[in-house]
Amino acid sequence: MAANKKGKIVQGERFAELRLEQVSRSFAGHVALDRLDLTISSGEFVALLGPSGCGKSTALNCLAGLLPLTGGSIWLDSKRIDTIPPEKRGFGMVFQNYALFPHMSVRRNIAFGLKMRKTPKAEATRRVDEAIKLVQLQEHAHKLPGQLSGGQQQRVAIARAIVFEPSIVAMDEPLSNLDAKLRLEMRTEIRRLHQSLGLTTVYVTHDQEEALSLADRLVLLRDGVVQQIGTPEEVYTQPKNRYVAGFMGYRNMLEFAVERELNGQAVLNGPGVHVAGVVRDNLVGGRAIAAIRPEDLVVGTVGENQLSVVVEVVEYHGREQSVQGRLGDGESVFFRTDKRLAPGDQVMLSVPTERVLLFSTEAAAAPAELVT
């Protein structure tokens, strides 16, 4: 990826790749991050994704030097950096709660990193001006952070983290304190900044939509262990295991008996159910889990795959409705439809075979092996 295409501000320390090797961190016996291996090339936007407690923030803090590692190493090309204190690492960091210095104006907050580096005054002024312009805060430059809205504060935090040309920008859930509308705006803003400056960015979030829309590559974590690393498309369409599938929007996880398996596909049977899908796992024990997105299910008998459900709850969402139904064996099925349905209705659902992913029922044990 060609970094700094139009980069005026960021020309920081050049490097080819950042390598995390077997990076681990434990807290009083509890393993928060377990042997993370990750190589990030210059200019890349990598998102660490997972629910709270999955180790993503730990990984970011280890990377930024705010947490010492308990194992492994971090390399910037051939330079080992995990023993360098954060102030010498030169990584920019954006914090979840912004962490702006409340006693300094927007301008002084942004200038802080340059001041610490003893950048000549004229150059510092020029760069701060550029950064302020970049995040569109010209009118607020002399205000204190307390006088700004959440979105403006986060823009200051971003400007502050990139103004000194860091080799890497680490962002720790930067949008989670903003309301839905601002979150979308800031997401676009971050994407725009990344595209125009070519900043190597490591972004932590629990929001898969945010990760999918921003990142070049996703790292899915669970209980400190990597589940899958891949492009948004790979992770979205080819989740490696049941857990990743569940996290990426495969809300229906339905367990049925395997009727037959052939050429990477299998057919499952259940009461009122006949579903063929793509096998993504070693199916053992004669049963399998079918992962299906609610939006992939359609009402009606299209093709061979059929699920007979009784409608239980209908939520009105404007253009369509979100429906919860129940299968013959009592399992819940979530789907979306623009047809008017009422609780108690008996409907037939269909789904294209390539949209059904089949996982082993024992997938819960799999993650540790998947790392290697």
Binding site: E87, F91, Y98, A99, L100, H103, K115, L144, G146, F164
Partner: protein, 304 residues
């Protein structure tokens, strides 16, 4: 329009008044202030005003300001101001200045913090008299301190730390430091530690983080702590008597007031000296608060 408001006013004058008052925070809960207000009026404002008017009614006549003239014309009395300032200001400065690095370092401690805090608080609970007694035993000519120094052949006779300036100064530090330390610790705990972490990712080393981030946010608290420490030290009395030289180098202003009021039975002169004492304290506190006014005093949480 006018008619409409008239109708409303006559229709429900009472609730609307109540609402208007409530909007300004005036409601029945204010009665809860009564005990506190009564306490301040009876035990502070009244005695103070009584003393103030008493100070203008000298026993021996000579005009309204005779007592003040006496105080400022008698160098033995006048010098008490400097003697007390010379004790109080350095003691307060030392207590605050020593508290800051210790509290700052201890902020990162997980274990042992409670024990050390408890240990530091003990001198406050003991009171000045017991501290003075301890000093008499410990740093006196026959105390451990001088014994050790003598046995190590560091001194020939003994270091004079009692019945002079240093005895009182030591006592002020022993009783004043824990107080300053507790206040500074409390102010420090109000500063979000994530700010220093942010500063470190921006390239600030340990000293720069303190200098540019933590100290500016702590400074208003430092000002208040200094004021309170100073007031505590300036009104020094028991230790000036017990471990000082109350007739000479530690003839502090409170001793002068006590002497006038309760040994010479000249209450008005005693009151006048107390008023001078109050004025000096107010001047020092005023200067510090003026400086504090120039500082950032808003929230010091991470959100800014």
């Amino acid at each position: 329009m006018a008619a409409a408001t008239g109708v409303r006013a006559s229709g429900g004058a009472t609730p609307s008044l109540r609402h208007r008052l409530a909007e300004r925070g005036i409601d029945r809960h204010l009665w809860l202030l009564l005990p506190g207000v009564a306490f301040i009026l009876l035990l502070f404002v009244y005695p103070f005003l009584y003393g103030l008017q008493l100070s203008f009614r000298p026993l021996k006549g000579g005009g309204v300001f005779a007592n003040y003239k006496t105080f400022f014309s008698d160098s033995y009395l006048r010098d008490t101001i400097w003697i007390t300032l010379k004790l109080g200001v350095p003691a307060a400065v030392l207590n605050v200045a020593a508290s800051i690095p210790i509290a700052y370092t201890m902020r990162r401690w997980r274990r042992g913090r409670r024990t050390l805090t408890a240990l530091l608080v003990v001198p406050i609970t003991l009171g000045t008299v017991l501290t003075a007694e301890g000093l008499l035993n410990y740093v006196g000519p026959a105390g451990w301190f001088n014994k050790v120094l003598r046995n190590l052949h560091l001194v020939k006779d003994s270091v004079p730390l009692l019945h002079n300036y240093w005895g009182v100064f030591l006592s002020l530090v022993i009783t004043g430091f824990p107080f300053a330390f507790l206040l500074i610790s409390a102010y420090l705990s109000g500063i979000d530690p994530v700010l220093e972490r942010a500063a470190s990712t921006l390239g600030a080393g340990g000293w720069q983080r303190f200098r540019h981030v933590t100290f500016p946010l702590l400074a208003p608290g430092v000002a208040i702590t200094f004021c309170l420490s100073f007031v505590l030290a300036f009104s020094v009395f028991p230790s000036a008597q017990l471990v000082g030289n109350p007739a000479g180098s530690t003839h502090v202003i409170s001793i002068a007031a006590y002497h006038a009021a309760l040994e010479q039975y000249d209450y008005p002169l005693g009151s006048a000296i107390a008023m001078v004492m109050a004025a000096v304290m107010l001047v020092i506190i005023g200067i510090v608060l003026l400086w504090r006014n120039t500082l950032y005093k808003g929230s010091s949480g991470g959100k800014g």
